[in-house]
């Protein structure tokens, strides 16, 4: 059976919404019956992206984060959007252990983790306009067995 679903949620760029975003994505993919590992990886991706928006996009100031969730059969697409300051050098930001805020004990692993935990990873950013992170992940679910 063909499965398709779409949802989006917009929330304040507050750190307590990191857990909220993880819960939302967990709930959204539940009908696909993901494995514990897959669910954990999706939650981690969302957590890293939302944290980046809060810390780097808005630098802990007021703002909104939008999370778009879609699936088509076993393919999940997550898009996390902020309208913050943007990333000056995306390639630099993608380097492992690079962080623009070493004084805040950032590990510099966020983007690398998102990349490893997903099957496709895109990031685009424009100074003064914001950042869009898009990931695709294929689940190993047995969708056809579901009712």
């Amino acid at each position: 059976m063909f499965k398709r679903n779409y949802a989006e949620v917009v929330f304040d760029a507050l750190s307590q919404n990191e857990a909220f975003a993880r819960m939302v994505v967990s709930g959204f993919v539940m009908p696909l019956d993901p494995t514990i590992d897959e669910l954990n990886e999706l939650k981690t991706i969302v957590s890293e992206a939302v944290t980046n928006s809060i810390i780097h996009g808005y630098e802990n100031k007021k703002g909104k984060v939008k999370m778009v969730m879609e699936y088509e059969n076993e393919w999940i697409t997550l898009t996390i959007i902020d309208y913050g300051k943007g990333i000056e050098d995306v390639n630099k930001a993608r380097e492992l252990f690079y962080t623009s805020k070493p004084e805040e004990e950032r590990s510099g692993m966020g983007l690398t983790i998102m990349e490893i935990f997903s099957d496709e990873f895109y990031i685009s950013s424009k100074i003064g306009e914001g950042t869009i992170v898009k990931v695709k992940k294929k689940l190993t679910c047995s969708c056809e067995n579901d009712v």
């Binding site: 950032r106 590990s107 983790i113």
Partner: protein, 116 residues
């Protein structure tokens, strides 16, 4: 689900049992609490018990690495024990296995440190 920490001190070692989720939000208060305890009680070693930690992202790695640098400056040891399957992958990816002492449980950590 938020984070709770059960903390106790034995000799010059601080034991931290974490329950819940360690992310950017929950790491802030944990970091402050650990820093002030370590200063106040002149702590040399730190043992993190992650048995009941159900989620951790790179912010959690940042907290552990930050404490590692602090402990190392005082010639102490940082031990992580009871790594469960939910957080194993992120710890592996971060390279923490290479720089930290990892033990099975707190007893093994105590043996390693010799803080009877």
């Amino acid at each position: 689900m938020s984070l709770s920490a059960y903390i106790y001190i034995r000799a010059d070692t601080l034991f931290v049992r974490l329950t819940g989720e360690l992310d950017h939000h929950t790491s802030k208060s944990l970091r402050d609490r650990l820093n002030s305890l370590m200063m106040e009680y002149d702590i040399k070693n730190l043992v993190f018990n992650l048995k009941n930690l159900t989620f951790m992202d790179s912010s959690g790695i940042g907290v552990i690495l930050g404490r590692y640098h602090y402990v190392k400056q005082n010639n102490g040891t940082l031990i992580v024990c009871e790594i469960n399957s939910q957080i194993e992958k992120i710890i592996q990816l971060s390279g923490l296995y290479k720089i930290l002492v990892i033990t099975k449980d707190e007893d093994q950590a105590i043996n390693y440190l010799g803080v009877a």
